[in-house]
Symmetry: D2
Subunit: 457 residues, 4 copies
């Protein structure tokens, strides 16, 4: 009898249902968390006298031996091992005999799996956080290394105003910084211990839940057992966190894929982060970034999957909740591979400042002219309109704004003075924008310093 239940059943489970029902195919990876939780629980049972000291010791030793088998890759999962809890308990029984049957006293797989997933997440979150930090570091290093490089800034993908390339890089640093903040916030909600909730109504043996929390590294206890066994909020939060992070990565990828086109030519990916074509010998494709962009779908889909599953469920535990783990694991796997790759792309990115400079068209200085007029006392709205006419005039002449003469400008407004060409300078336009968060060199340096302080933590 390998199942943890069945005394009241007349017939065996349908074999297809056994496969449909089984979670061992994906929840095996909770083994270390499951065993850590069981060790703590054995000690708690000892403290309330359900286990003798010898029994507790046998169980703890046995569990450690089972963990060693998993670590070494020698643990054999049997077809009858419905889930990781069953597998561990079955193997424990094989190793230590009767006392193994006492471990599940007052505990249900409902509070057990809820605890396992949270423990597992508490282990994974620092890994994720380090990966985000690694990408942030790559961005800051690059921003610091290329502080002198100018490029066109775009809105609507149309050239708008000149900016520092480092300003563009840093814009992604701050998106990721919000991701770090959000991750830290949600971690507080992961670190809540469900163990002691039993199936739904609470542990009946007066187990010391505070001691369990302390031993397992949880900061708080769940407050209601019914809620605790079916609370998947922190998984949903993690999935949303990942989905929003992915939109950031997708935007970074989109920009770089554009900037790496032949037509833009601002950057070039290292060979290590590119692939070729099976038919076109000249191709060098930014597959790394396309996948980073494309995987946004997968991660958003994982979030939708869990929310849809949760919608309208009767409260307390329902089997539907087993569907929480695959989207979570897939999301973690995706990010843990993707983030270092994107960091590698940034670290090894080749920059072509001359192509960026070539893309700085006179048009990007139109706002400077309007601002010039403002300083002469012309209302901005009127100045905007006058400069619109200058842009048209240059367009008709097929020349740039810098090529129009002072007389040309005067013909549009008497407020233009002899010094008008002085404002038609890309570097000057950049340095004007020195407010906090602006693209002026000093302001970008301030961003970099603030970022380094955050990374130094």
């Amino acid at each position: 009898m390998s199942k943890l239940w069945g005394g009241r059943f007349d017939k065996p489970t349908d074999t297809l249902l056994e496969r449909f029902n089984a979670s061992i195919g994906f929840d095996w990876r909770l083994y270390a968390a499951d065993i850590a939780g069981s060790i703590a629980y054995a000690r708690a049972l000892e403290r309330v006298g359900i286990l003798t000291t010898d029994e507790a010791m046998a169980i703890v030793d046995g569990l450690q031996a089972v963990k060693a088998e998993f670590d070494a890759g020698t643990f054999t999962i049997l077809p009858s091992d419905e889930d990781i809890h069953t597998a561990v308990e079955r193997r424990l029984g094989e190793r230590i005999g009767a006392p193994a049957g006492k471990l599940h006293t007052g505990r249900s797989r409902n509070d057990q799996v809820a605890t396992d997933v949270r423990l597992y997440l508490l282990g994974q979150i620092p890994v994720l956080r380090d990966h985000v930090r690694g990408l942030q570091r790559a961005l800051v290093d690059k921003a610091e290394a290329h502080l002198g490089v100018l490029m066109p800034g775009y809105t609507h993908l149309q050239p708008a105003q000149p900016i520092l390339f480092s300003h563009w890089l840093m814009s992604f640093f701050w998106m990721l910084q919000r991701d770090v903040e959000r991750l830290d916030d949600l971690t507080r909600r992961v670190a809540v211990l469900p163990l002691g909730s039993a199936a739904l109504a609470g542990n009946p043996f007066g187990i010391d839940r505070d001691a369990l929390a302390a031993e397992l590294g949880f900061a708080r206890l769940s407050e209601n057992s019914l809620d605790a066994v079916s609370d998947r909020d922190c998984i949903a939060e993690l999935l949303f966190w990942a989905a929003l992070l992915q939109t950031h990565l997708s935007r970074l990828a989109e920009d770089l894929i554009l900037y790496a086109t032949a037509e833009f030519g601002f950057v070039e990916l290292d060979d290590a982060y590119s692939t070729g074509s099976s038919i076109m010998p000249q191709k060098k494709n930014p597959d790394s970034l396309e996948l980073a962009r494309g995987k946004t779908g997968r991660v958003v889909g994982n979030l939708v999957a869990l929310l849809t599953t949760l919608k309208g469920l009767p409260s307390s535990y329902d089997k539907d909740l087993q569907e929480d783990k695959e989207p979570l694991f897939d999301t973690l796997d995706t990010l843990e591979l993707e983030l270092p790759i994107v960091a590698g792309v940034i670290r090894t990115l080749r920059i072509h400042p001359e192509r960026m400079a070539a893309a700085l068209r006179d048009d990007l200085l139109a706002t400077e002219l309007a601002d010039y007029l403002v300083r002469q006392g012309v209302p901005f709205r009127q100045g905007h309109h006058i400069v619109g006419q200058a842009v048209r005039l240059a367009g008709e002449r097929g020349c740039g704004l810098r090529d129009l003469t002072v007389d040309d400008y005067r013909s549009l407004s008497p407020y233009f003075g002899d010094d008008v060409h002085g404002v038609l300078d890309f570097r000057r336009a950049i340095e004007q924008r020195s407010v906090p968060g602006g693209t002026a060199t000093a302001a970008v340096k301030a961003q970099i310093e603030a970022a380094k302080a955050l990374l130094g933590e």
Copy 2:
């Protein structure tokens, strides 16, 4: 040199990117489709003189041998096998040498993988269709076997009017019938051959695409090569098809989970489709149905994943499109396991007609009273209001509508006659609803006959 590209590259691919980029972990299951496509392509190359007859024969024989290795489970995937196409071509080369290098002439992995997935789907769709048909058959058989059983029909989950249990069963047959129709419709759009589109611009060797389509069982050719290499519409359609089917299964599951509660008690699941609890010895849980309901999340998530990935992609092939396969395969795997299980649940379901009968409260006959008044010439709106007062009166007395006397009814409306209790009969209420699609026995029998005709096809 194991990659299908690389002549222009200076540096090796980053090892993380190799893992991120590789699709062999999931696209190996396209092997039979890939090899079938390559065999047809080799013959097409022979017809245009790119391959000699000997070369073509060597390739075809070699590919068949490679397929035999896959079939037998002896094919060894190497770490350098980026995808199934690379793996097959690498192995072909090992087996037949030089001519293997000619197979890829004028073909790209872009048109190759698009062809593979469609061939694979054309093989899977009949399997899915049979599974849906199997569930429909289980519903019809059950409906035919229990035609005499009455139950409360609900709206808003409140008792509404009496219906036949078979009418309830058949309501799901028709949902599934729409799913079959939709599947047949989308199959026409799967059976469109992309092969011959090459990377994006079309095959340059005048390959005979019509012959390829005929050999591979496609009904039409793709009309534009740029579109063909990035068209994932039929996968999106299949995923939507599955998502809508899942909502049907989730509603069937929801009803049965409710009807199997202790409080309703209308049905009982067979042990083979139930599971127990690790802590509560009495439990018999409808896990099979809860999983069927819960997996709706996964399948809707898969649809969202693909749509999100497709959104805003530059046209023609982008690497993002590689993300189409995992949601598809996961969806197919889910349904191919789930549908037979749900059919098994229906086939083995135990019915408790006495519990259903006990749930037929007098309230369910209120509409009969209103209809009675209509037949006496009272406008329905007025009749509805009068009967509302009868319901209140019975409520205040703590009795049923059948317990009110003729005088009670007359006190509410003079149109009530001595025969009023004649309409307060559940069976009569059911048999009144004899329009096509109604719950009367004859109408339900007609549904069953129509259904059997469809299943007989």
Copy 3:
């Protein structure tokens, strides 16, 4: 008493719930469908003797007068009008008195609203279809007008092979053609009449459903009343249809936004489809296309909304189903505005063939060299590798493939002959790809002819 129910209730509805519950704010637009359905239903009631001829005539005339009020914009919706059905019936009562109360005999708002939405959709689908056809026509006209224009074809957004600009345009025609096919398929499932299903169990007055279907223009009857009152499949199908169409529009928009950048410069949007900036006088932004791309989110969200609402609902009618209409209406409104705008963008698009020509780099001819070697008997795999080295050589020299000498080529492979430069020709490369669906002029012309035949229908 303005509600259609309430006889059994002691207390009035909470005023917040009245607002939460009311659908008149959005379902008023069903008025014409609702009235058409009621007129047909009145005639059906007359045929079974529930209404006298005079009553039926009064009702029909009254309903037509109510419709005239709506058409003229003079109908006043009262706060107590819960939904369009209540509003129409209330007003009918005001106009014709007592007989109005007979119209709802044997009909429920459940089958009524299901009928209304389908009638409404049957009216909207041809409008949508015409709009898609309009965009297809704009694409074909443009493709025909610019058949001589060459441009780079991309994969991974990297230059791949030369193509005709018309080939690019036509690739979107075929995406939209699949959308038309899908729309035609789903229309068959919209044209199924639910009327006669009453609340859930079927009409009890032997109403002639076939006559109703014929009068209202439905092709089939719903087969099961329980299913009919809660079947929202055809709405889900329409929403998916729209979501997939939107991914096509988003890809078209993405391409054009890129091609309209200063860096690509292939196309320019007409002023009529561009907007400016409140701060940067030079800006001309492709807002029309950005919105078309961005609105994909809204439409995918509408699909997810309905699927999530449907998931796990008890069968038969639940109030949750009222949530079907706003996503549907929003989707229709979005597309009916967006499609003509995108068609206008295409019709008025200015083309810059010289910028496209300038973007045709020698690299795009690398496949031609490999194909040349194939024709000399070199296996493609080997040819691909040799040309990769040619690309590197040209890269090192900072020159193009056309600038390498025959000796250069010979140094890489003895199979290169004196005629090698003959294949390094963009026009030739295009014309080689003459298979059906290829980019050769004749093949694109064939596409255009096929497209015109489809548009001619």
Copy 4:
């Protein structure tokens, strides 16, 4: 010239595009935020000398007058008012003339709208929070009032163990408490000021951003202007927050809809939160709760809409971002109506303790028997199996566990003593579960006290 741009344009905007592009139909509700932001900005312009004191005063007075028009409902939106910013500036110009044209100096609609939405959200969040608090209060009050009521606790919707009804109520309190925590967390990320970022590159007039933040009630400044104008993270967070809250509400609704069925009969909704049927006079439907459940779809759809729109966008401002507001407003409107309704449902809910008591079947005590054996030293696994056999035995006899004799129990295990029936007591079973979070009365009281402390804040 009513547009804020257009100097360089030759042709008017297409009229359809004007409608497609315009946001005034929904962003008018930002008017108070927009005007507050403009007043602060005028003062900031004065401080840097762009405006004279007189000009600034005229602008501030004018803006306050425009706000008064909006407040009074007398502001007339013109067809040419593209968005709320344009409408306000247009009207300001009509009221105060020339100085109005200076207000937009150094500011773009990009940083303006980003500021407006955040200001608006900072005003709405306390409203949302109060509504959640209101529902929490209703739950706690109800839990306190009915502390003596027992009910079956369910897992898999099958009877599991007896619990206090108040424990069930409180389980939802804690879900909502997490929602409050999350809302507080995200508010910190809303309170970040984008103003001063201009179009993308930062304000060029040295505006004092810290003073702006202080005046408008923001806690932090955005750190990078490029990021600031396209950062929609806090909206996505709010939408996710709402989606997760909705899953909680949907589960509460699902439970109550079930408990209000005729078959469960545990609770009854007040007439004020129920509606009737247009055809079935007896019906009393829980529409309020069904809508609360159903609207989960809408809110999840709104989240998906925004994430899909954000996916793959080029960085900095794109017009696609205009699609952020409708999902946000719709979500706020939904919750602000729904939360008080659900609170009303709870406050007015009638409880039927006798129906709950009747549903306490002996089976619910099976775990007590297993725990009894544990206390006799039987390993839980073995005890579980023995009790499974007792359940079968009772099932075969058609009796309850309390009806089996001591001898019956002894026949299954010698560890059963004469005192076995003592544990077969529902109240005792409940009181055993006295760990923190358990269902014992003292533990539930502790929950209630903790909850009241949180509500007292």
